[in-house]
């Protein structure tokens, strides 16, 4: 867990945006964008995990929200004897076993996420067992207060502030600030190509800004 709280991050971002009194960028708006950005960052980078257990049933398909409401995607799964299952893509699962939806065995061997709402675990264990899943979670929402502290590691604060600054600069239509903030963030996310596309979209803007 990191050491930054929502109120600290809002204040720091407000200073970046030259709005320390939060007139142009209300604190509630800044907070909502920070929460959205930390969520997207964690999904992309897989920084914070959750762990939960669930019992197998008489089926191969499971609803992910019933297992963990903050689930984003699985990372590891273990059976009751702490043997790790293999994660495969849904496409591979359907190619490997045409009867996976009703295949039974002594223990489950593989699991495959299907979108964000379903999880296939097969074969179905003949005797029900408890599985342990580690998963990338949606981080705890921050508040405009000293608690809770954010879930992400502190060294990712610059990335959070860059992306939040880019989005909040839409309010002022400051397209060059958006471009510069995205340029700083993109390499940390492995998205340099996408940043190039963004740059192409803002070329003409230099004619009317910063004269």
């Amino acid at each position: 867990m990191g050491t930054f709280a929502g109120n600290t991050l809002i204040t720091e971002l407000a200073r970046r945006l030259r709005d320390t009194t939060n007139v142009a960028y209300p604190r509630a708006t800044v907070l909502n964008i920070i929460n959205r950005v930390q969520d997207a960052m964690n999904v992309r980078l897989g920084l914070v995990y959750g762990q939960t257990t669930f019992n197998t049933g008489n089926q191969a398909l499971y609803s992910t929200s019933a297992i963990a409401s903050d689930y984003a995607y699985p990372v590891q799964m273990f059976d009751a004897n702490q043997r790790e299952l293999d994660m495969i893509s849904f496409d591979r699962l359907t190619q490997q076993d045409e009867e996976w939806v009703r295949r039974f065995g002594n223990r489950p061997e593989v699991y495959a996420p299907i979108g964000r709402e379903l999880l296939a675990v097969t074969p179905i264990p003949v005797v029900a067992m408890t599985l342990t899943m580690r998963y990338v979670k949606h981080p705890t929402a921050l508040a405009d207060a000293g608690a809770p502290l954010w879930d992400l590691p502190d060294e990712h604060k610059p990335l959070l502030l860059d992306l939040s600054e880019a989005l909040l600069s839409l309010r002022s239509r400051d397209y060059i600030a958006i471009q510069e903030a995205v340029n700083r963030a993109a390499p940390k996310l492995g998205l340099e190509d996408a940043a190039q596309v963004l740059r192409k979209g803002t070329v003409g803007d230099r004619l009317k800004v910063k004269t």
Partner: protein
């Protein structure tokens, strides 16, 4: 229908008054497009259902009333079915293809209306009573029915497991809203919002996995 959290992001980042009726409609459009695979590698809403089989009947419908859009996998009883093009299905002997059999080999969309599909060949027997069973909660497997796994659309976008998609959806809606003819038309804003939406849609895919 619209999702309040997405609407809040749009309001917070737009600053100028947008047309709520139009942005709600754009919101629906983007959510529909997600289930059609318009955004590569972005699949969040999925569902599954049993479809009751009637002896000798080839044609069935996806449960569109509950949001089913595009099938990801269809099973007859326990066996996954092949997706057949019309010419592949027609390559089977006509008498065999149209006569009810115990084992179904595939399904085809080509000669059917969009939400419908046809089993090849038609099943010989009625499926067992499905009752309260669903593919994710099976008390007793209902033999000889169809199990469908599909991309789903719920326009209220209620799930917590795909919360990170609300930001790029809001950005794409803003791109469309500022791109149409109106008193707040802003082509530069459209371009930047669209590119930011693409950027955040790419963040749906964890780094290290192919984008």
């Amino acid at each position: 229908m619209s999702n309040a959290a997405i609407t809040t992001i749009i309001t917070q980042l737009s600053t100028t008054a947008t047309d709520g009726t139009v942005t709600n409609s754009f919101q629906d459009d983007v959510i529909f497009e997600l289930s059609r695979g318009v955004y590569p590698d972005v699949l969040a809403q999925v569902g599954s259902a049993f479809i009751a089989v009637t002896a000798g009947t080839a044609r069935y419908s996806l449960p569109t009333a509950s949001g089913a859009r595009t099938p990801l996998a269809l099973f007859y009883d326990t066996k996954q079915l092949l997706l057949l093009r019309k010419d592949e299905a027609w390559a089977y002997d006509e008498a065999w293809r149209n006569a009810p059999h115990n084992q179904v080999v595939g399904y085809t969309f080509d000669p059917e209306d969009r939400p419908n599909f046809a089993l090849v060949p038609p099943p010989r027997r009625d499926g067992a009573t499905i009752g309260g069973n669903t593919p994710t909660v099976v008390t007793a497997w209902p033999d000889a029915n169809i199990t469908a796994v599909y991309a789903n659309t719920d326009l209220t976008f209620p799930g917590t497991t795909y919360d990170d998609l609300k930001l790029p959806i809001a950005l794409e809606v803003m791109a469309r809203e500022f791109g149409r003819d109106s008193d707040h038309e802003d082509k530069m804003m459209t371009e930047v919002c669209h590119n930011l939406a693409e950027f955040f849609f790419l963040m749906f895919t964890p780094v290290g996995r192919p984008t």
